[in-house]
């Protein structure tokens, strides 16, 4: 075969193979660059020397550690950040507990309205945020809470949309679990509570943890629903939105960088732990 192939054809094949072998890699690198460039910009800008001219705000004018040394230059920013963390943690705790209990009920117990509950739980995920936000606002106003919009209404709203994500995540984990495992535990002398804590909970825990992390990031990140139900309270995303039309303090990039580092660390820890579990 090789003898019959003309020379140029052989070269073409070689070139084709060279291309094919590197095409996937090349495309992959382009995609990675596409995702990482904005992140790199955030990290870079956190070391930017602030400029007075508003129009040149995203021009790198010189390296400095000032932003990192003094992250709360604008106290309003740190105040909003703390509030977002506070709301995020509370919403996570409440929605994770309620959602986990709901998931157990939906998977383990047969009751009237189970299948419709299973379906309705998707509603907050499927409905557009703007619709959810405005209907929540209408509800709060109708309930006579129009004047008290703020921390608590934001919290209620966040718990509401986090809840369905928690239920769906934990339910998937629970449904994928072999029923026989619990029966086996009981067969091996474990009482119902021992069965739960020794077998069921450890097996469902990764799902619960994932749901909690997801809840926090959803809550921390939310702008639309929060903005409609916040009254005079300002969360971090609302603060960023507010200042973006004026002068953006470079410290926002510091916060952004910290958040990126934190999330990457969490993912890495999870990855390392699961990798360590593999080899005996």
């Amino acid at each position: 075969m090789a003898v019959m192939t003309p020379r140029s054809g052989g070269a073409g094949t070689r070139l084709g193979r060279w291309m094919r072998e590197r095409l996937v890699l090349g495309l992959g690198l382009v995609v990675l660059a596409y995702t990482f460039v904005p992140i790199a910009v955030v990290v870079l800008m956190s070391f930017n020397k602030p400029v007075s001219e508003q129009s040149k705000i995203y021009k790198f004018s010189g390296f400095t550690l000032d932003n990192w040394k003094n992250p709360c230059a604008d106290p309003a920013m740190c105040e909003s950040l703390l509030r977002s963390i506070e709301i995020g943690l509370l919403a996570t705790v409440v929605s994770t507990i309620l959602g986990t209990l709901a998931a157990f009920a939906l998977v383990r117990h047969d009751f009237i309205g189970r299948s419709s509950s299973n379906l309705l739980i998707f509603m907050p995920m499927a409905a557009p945020e703007i619709v959810l936000g405005s209907s929540l606002l209408a509800m709060f106003v109708a309930a006579g809470l129009g004047g008290q919009l703020g921390f608590w209404t934001i919290l209620v709203a966040h718990i509401m949309f986090c809840l369905s994500f928690v239920v769906v995540t934990v339910r998937a984990r629970l449904a994928g679990m072999d029923d026989n495992l619990e029966q086996a535990a009981m067969d091996l002398y474990a009482t119902p509570s021992q069965t739960f804590w020794r077998v069921t909970f450890p097996l469902v825990f990764p799902g619960i943890l994932g749901a909690a992390l997801l809840s926090f990031s959803l809550s921390f990140d939310d702008f639309i629903i929060t903005n409609l139900n916040s009254g005079n309270t300002t969360t971090f995303p609302m603060y960023v939105w507010g200042v973006s039309r004026r002068t953006v303090p470079m410290q926002i990039n510091v916060i952004g960088t910290v958040m990126i580092v934190l999330s990457v660390t969490i993912v890495l820890i999870g990855e390392l732990r699961s990798r360590r579990r593999r080899p005996a």
């Binding site: 026989n180 086996a184 009981m186 067969d187 091996l188 002398y189 474990a190 077998v199 579990r277 005996a280």
Partner: protein, 389 residues
């Protein structure tokens, strides 16, 4: 169903004294009804301690439900379960000295092999758990794998872990729910021998649920054939095979030729049956019907095939007029289908000893069998019951 299985001879000495009344497992009128059907109907069963007992039947016959009721994972609608003289009918699964090897093994994926095996001991706060686990892993030849997670083991190894995890608790009764079902044929044969060896070694009562008749017959001292929620017949494997009492057992355990006939006469030791004009005899203790019609049963390997007019070494029942309609050469034997004058095709397995030539399709032949191998079943039963399962 009044037979009682023979206890295993190599019984652990501590229980040997109690081989009589109180020990062992006793089911009385055990019934389980589900919303739409009855899975188990008034089952009476006695399993002496130390025996290897098999519950054999097709899927849906109630064998797994029976097992789950013994384990306490299902609660009976009525009837009682007694173990070593104690009524455990309504005891919780974790209160019974019974352990199960699940069909799916149900190993705890988050625990390593040693902790899986130690699970039952730890729940009962036993001492020297590590030492017991080490010995048990030695028994199932998995000592080197003790720190691995179940997912890292092969199917056969997981099966042995499941067995070790149940055995280590030294239960009064060990329940095995189709434990070899997920293994390939070769591994299954090896595990059958292994299971039998372990049972003999530890001397515990094993109740093994399976739909594989060969598996049941190879391993068990006593086999109970279940069908439609009741035990059709129970006994030693050879006894069940040689003298089935119902068409279901005749067809489910191996294969049988069932030929319609009417009873001509009955004596103390012989029943004479007219089978499409040919008189054949069946021993009285193999006659399982009181009516005047019945199915004459004969196993294919008990049927001899020969040339027309040839003197066959089987005085008694000779049936002329057969024509070979199908031949499959297996090697050690040849399987024939022979069309009889009344239109029925009979199966014949002939050993390739070289004494009889191998017949071809269309050859005229005569069949015969020794009367002591035939059995007579009730005509009211379906001749094809259990055949396709």
């Amino acid at each position: 169903m009044s037979q009682v299985a023979e206890p295993n001879q190599q019984r652990a000495s501590e229980d040997a004294a109690g081989a009589g009344g109180g020990s062992g497992l006793r089911l009385r009128a055990l019934t389980k009804e589900f919303a739409t059907f009855t899975a188990v109907r008034s089952l009476d069963l006695e399993v002496p301690s130390g025996s290897f007992f098999a519950l054999l039947g097709p899927s849906g016959c109630g064998k797994t439900t029976t097992l789950r009721m013994i384990a306490g994972l299902e609660s009976p609608t009525s009837g009682t379960i007694e173990l070593a003289g104690r009524d455990i009918t309504h005891a919780k699964p974790y209160q019974r000295p019974v352990n199960t090897v699940f069909q799916s093994y149900a190993l705890f994926p988050h625990l390593d092999i040693a902790e899986n095996v130690a699970f039952g001991l730890r729940r009962r706060r036993q001492k020297d758990v590590d030492e017991q686990v080490r010995q048990m892993l030695d028994l199932v030849e998995l000592s080197s794998q003790s720190r691995k997670k179940p997912a890292q083991l092969s199917g056969g190894q997981q099966q042995r872990v499941a067995l070790a995890r149940a055995l280590i608790n030294k239960p009064e009764v060990l329940l095995l729910d189709e434990p070899l079902g997920a293994l390939d044929l070769k591994l299954r044969r090896a595990m059958q021998i292994e299971l039998k060896r372990i049972q003999t070694e530890v001397g515990l009562t094993f109740i093994h649920v399976t739909h594989d008749q060969e598996e049941a017959m190879t391993m068990a001292d006593t086999v109970a054939v279940m069908n439609g929620g009741v035990i059709e017949q129970m006994g030693a494997p050879a006894e069940l095979y040689e003298n089935p009492r119902s068409t279901f057992v005749a067809n489910f355990l191996g294969q049988s030729n069932l030929i319609a006939g009417s009873v001509v006469s009955r004596s103390a030791d012989i029943t004479t049956v007219d089978m499409h004009g040919i008189a054949v005899s069946v021993p009285a203790n193999r006659t399982h019907t009181d009516s005047d019609r019945g199915w004459v049963g004969i196993r294919p390997e008990k049927v001899l095939i020969g040339e027309v007019g040839e003197q066959l070494d089987a005085p008694g029942n000779t049936i002329p007029g057969g024509v070979v309609s199908d031949v499959s050469f297996v090697g050690v034997s040849t399987a024939y289908l022979v069309r009889m004058p009344w239109g029925q095709e009979l199966q014949v397995f002939s050993q390739n000893t070289g004494r009889v030539r191998i017949f071809a399709v269309g050859d005229a032949v005569e069949l015969s069998w020794r009367p002591e191998y035939a059995f007579l079943l009730d005509h009211a039963q379906d001749a094809s019951a259990g055949a396709a399962l």
